[in-house]
Each structure stands twice: as C-alpha cells, then as structure tokens.
C-alpha cells in the first residue's frame, strides 16, 4: 500500500529551482532513504511535504488524501511527523516538557502525556536527562530529543532529517538501532542522511536526487552502482578516469 505520494513537485526560490518535477512513492512499513549531494533539495523536499513551504506545482498525497494545502500542524495531526536537520528544541523547557508537548498531540491529560513522554525517553535513551533544560544538551542528545518529540506525536509516517549526522560512532549505532525499533512498531520512515553507512544499512529503498531532480531509485546496492549516482557524487572526471583505467 502507498502511504505517501509525492507527485510532480516543483519548488522555486526566486530564480533557483530547488525541486523539479519530483515524484516518488512511499510504501507502508518501509524505510525509504533520500540521498543527494549538498544542495540537492532534500531538506526543501521535507519542508514541502510538511507544508512549511508551498510548492509551485504538484501535489502531496497522504493515505490517498491531498494534503498539499494543509497547514503544518494539520499535517502532524493527520499522523505525519518530522524532525528538523537543525534541531529545534524548546530551549528553556526541560527534556520531559519538550516531549510532553509532542504527546499532547493525541493525549489531552497532563498525567498521561507525562507517562507517554517518559516511555519514549526511556526507549530513546534520554531518561536520565528528563529534568534538564534542552539548551544544556549535547548535540547527540539534542538529536535524540528531536526524534523523541516527533515520536511522541504518535505518527504513522516519520520524516527524519539527518538524525545520525554529527553523532559519535556509539551514539550513531544507538540511533540506528532505535530507527529499526521505530520501523518494527509499524511506522513508515522517510530518511535523509549524509552518513552513507547509516542510510545504506537502514534503507529498504533509496531515491537519489540531484539539483532537485530524481536521478535514480532502487535498492541500496543497485543505486550505489548507478553511474548517474556516482557521477553526481564524484563528478564526471572520476568516471572518465575509471573508464580509462579499465
């Protein structure tokens, strides 16, 4: 079943075309990775899906329903949550309060929201930090908090924007394990990641974008062998050099 469909999206910023006629489908239960060189339009894509940016043309469908015109909070309420690449904590609130705010998306009572938040903090490994203010967290803990907030809204689809990048290897492994854990709960994941090892091992499928256009799509091992992908990442000269050698 297709849970999220991005259909012929074009997004311009002035003269710059950030996304051009981009289409892909997200199947329920999978982890779909989005990769592409810096400036390829990955974060813009997330901003368009969650309505922080309006596309010039194209539509976004969530469970068959057109959500292109909705406001960001409505998209979250429908069950599509996101994290931000540059983490956006509620800086002066405690870690627990931060996650509680996410839990209020589906729980009206304070006590139950606290319970839910504590459960998530336990799972993500931030439980000891629950009474600290979000500003005092390290970057690794901030990324975990970012994920915990989004998970607390109880999404069906979660969009993760670079949650592994910037972590040390132990933290990265924890995070990868937690993302697998999310998938096991039946949540569908759309993933942007710079850390290749992470995205190759996590993703069931990968979409590659370059200058806002889709240049390749398929299983991780197929995509990594696609000459167009190698060219986008390493440049044409690399491929020419390789041909000359062989």
């Amino acid at each position: 079943m297709i849970i999220l469909e991005v259909k012929e999206i074009t997004k311009r910023f002035g003269g710059l075309v950030a996304l051009k006629d981009l289409s892909f489908k997200l199947r329920q239960g999978e982890i779909l990775g989005i990769i592409g060189p810096n400036g390829a339009g990955k974060t813009t894509l997330f901003n368009v899906i969650t309505s922080f940016h309006r596309p010039e043309t194209g539509k976004i469908f969530f469970k068959g329903e057109d959500i292109t015109e909705l406001r960001p909070y409505q998209i979250c309420r429908k069950g599509l949550a996101r994290t931000f690449q540059i983490t956006q904590p509620f800086a002066n609130l405690t870690v627990l309060e931060n996650v509680k705010i996410g839990a209020y998306n589906h729980i009206p009572s304070s006590r139950e929201a606290t319970d839910e938040a504590l459960r998530i903090l336990e799972a993500v490994g931030l439980i000891e930090k629950r009474n600290e203010r979000a500003t005092s967290l390290s970057i690794g803990h901030r990324k975990k908090l970012e994920l915990a907030k989004a998970m607390a809204t109880r999404p069906e689809v979660i969009l993760l924007d670079e949650v592994v990048a910037g972590l040390n290897s132990r933290e990265a492994n924890d995070m990868i394990a937690y993302i697998h854990h999310i998938q096991k709960q039946g949540i569908t994941i759309l993933l942007i990641e710079h850390v290749m090892k992470a995205i190759m091992s996590l993703s069931n499928r990968i979409v590659v974008i370059h200058y806002g256009q889709k240049i390749s799509e398929g299983k991780p091992e197929e995509v990594s062998k696609d000459p167009k992908v190698i060219e986008a990442y390493l440049g044409e000269e690399y491929i020419l050099a390789k041909h000359q050698r062989s």
Partner: protein, 328 residues
Amino acid sequence: MSNIHQKTWNILLIVVLGGLILGLPLFLGKYYLHFFIMIFFFAFLGSAWNILGGYAGQFSFGHAAFFGTGVFTSTLLQIHAGVNPWIGMLLAGIAGMGLGLFIGFLSFRYGLRGPYFALAMLALAEMLKLIAIEWMTSRYPLGITIPLRGDSLLYFQFRDKVPYYYISFLMMAGALFLTRFIEVRKIGSYFKAIRENESAAEALGINVFRYKLIAMAISAFLTAVGGTFYSQYYLNIEEESAFGAGISIEILMGPIIGGAGTVFGPLLGAGILEFLSETTRNFLGGYSGVHLMIYGAVLVFVIIFLPHGIMGGLQETFRKITKGQTKT
C-alpha cells in the same frame, strides 16, 4: 511521595499566608491599605499580561488598550445606560476580549512577531487614547465622575478602603490560580512551546495561530476587568490614566522584574515596584521624577543580571542546588 509532601507544604503555606493577608486590614491604616491594594491590583494586571507575554511569548507593549477599554466600557454603560458596575465589569472584559481578538487576528494572521507585535500594540493603545481625548474634550473636559452612592456592595462603591482591599485580593488570587491552572495543563505547555519555538510547535501539531488568540483573549479579558476595578476605586476617569503608555509600562514592569512566565513573578514584581515607588516618594518626594529613575535603574539591573526575572533567577539557583545534591 515528594509530590504529596510538596502539596501539603503548599496548602500550609497558602493557609498561613491567606490568614495573614485576610487579617491585615484590621491593623492597617488607610495609607498602607492603599499600598497593598496597589500591589494586588498590579499583580492582577501583571498576571493578565503574563499569560500572553510571559507564557505565550507575545510581548505586548500596549495593554493599556484593554485596560482603557475596561475603564470606559463599564463607566459609560453605568452612566448612560444605568448598567450595574458588576455586570459592567463582565461586559468590560468581553469588550476587551473582543478588541484583543481583533488586534490579535490582524497581528498573528500577518505574522507580526517580537518587537513588531509590541509596537502594533503600542500603536493601538495610542490610537484609542487619541480617540478618547477627541471624544472627551467636548463632552467631559474634566474627566468622567461616577455618581456617588455611598457605601454599596451592589454598586461597587465604598467610602472605606477595606472592601477594595478584599476585592483586589480576590481578583489577584483568582488570576494567580488561573495562571497555575493553565501552566500545568496542555494549554500552558502549548503557550510555552509557541514562546520557545513557533516552527517546532507547529511541527508538533499545535495550531499556533489559534493558541495565540486564546492567550490574547484571556489576557485582554482580565486586563479590561482590571480597568473596571480602577474606575470603581477612583470613581473618576480620564484618558491618560486609562489608555496612556504609562499604564502599559506599569502593567508589564511587574512580570518582567518578578519573572515573566512564572506564576508568582507578577506578584513579586508588583510588590517590589510598589515598595520602591513608595519609599522613593517618601524619602525623595521633593525631587519629582526620582522614583522613575530608580524604576529605570532596577529594570536595567534585572534585564542584565536576571533575564528571566527574580523568580526565574531563583528557579535557576534552586535547580543548580538540587542537581548538585542528586549528583553527590
């Protein structure tokens, strides 16, 4: 366990303080009664401001707009339509809320943030003041006096200050309870989320526009209710003390100094400011304006050294102490 423990302490504290406060008028003269009435009154107005400015983070520099609306609504209704001032107080609140929703809709719909919102509010209050001046000069050049009816609870008029003391205290206590009620619930968490980071709040399913309007409605309602208390306390109103920028500043000074976004910040701030203003007036009364200079100095001090106000500073210290204890 510790939660229950804290609750008993809180109740004990409330009972002791409450008894003290309720008994005080027996021992106080007129002068000190007025002093406490002003503390309660500005703590009430500060709490009203605090909900919008301190919790939801929408810094209003023109709450006199709502205050003046309250002052004029109940007074004019009383004089021209014979509306009882208690009912007038409720209608004043509704009028203030209506104005708040109107300016809130315009400001928040078009994304006015931070200083731009503050200035829009200031402009609104100044506009209303000019309208009031224009309207009053031909009709009430000496201000409007509410007809005296002697001591009457029904007409919200008293020769003695004691009833005003209790009324202002009840209003303040109500505002503090309301603040606490909001603070520990979903609505309070949503206000704080909006204050801290609007995009993140929106991404977590919060209808930021709607919650800003709710904060505005509560804040404007209470502030206008305060306006009616003011009318009934002085029984004489004019434009400057209703819509003037001085009122806007006095309303927000308390919570800023005491601690915006905390329940007791506005009360603490109002207490400190009234104390300062009275002592400077008593000791330096000969030099007019000195108390304003001291006000300014205190404000500068607090903003530099205690950016979250005195309550915020205390909470931070407390947090550090308890953190140190759990670690060792």
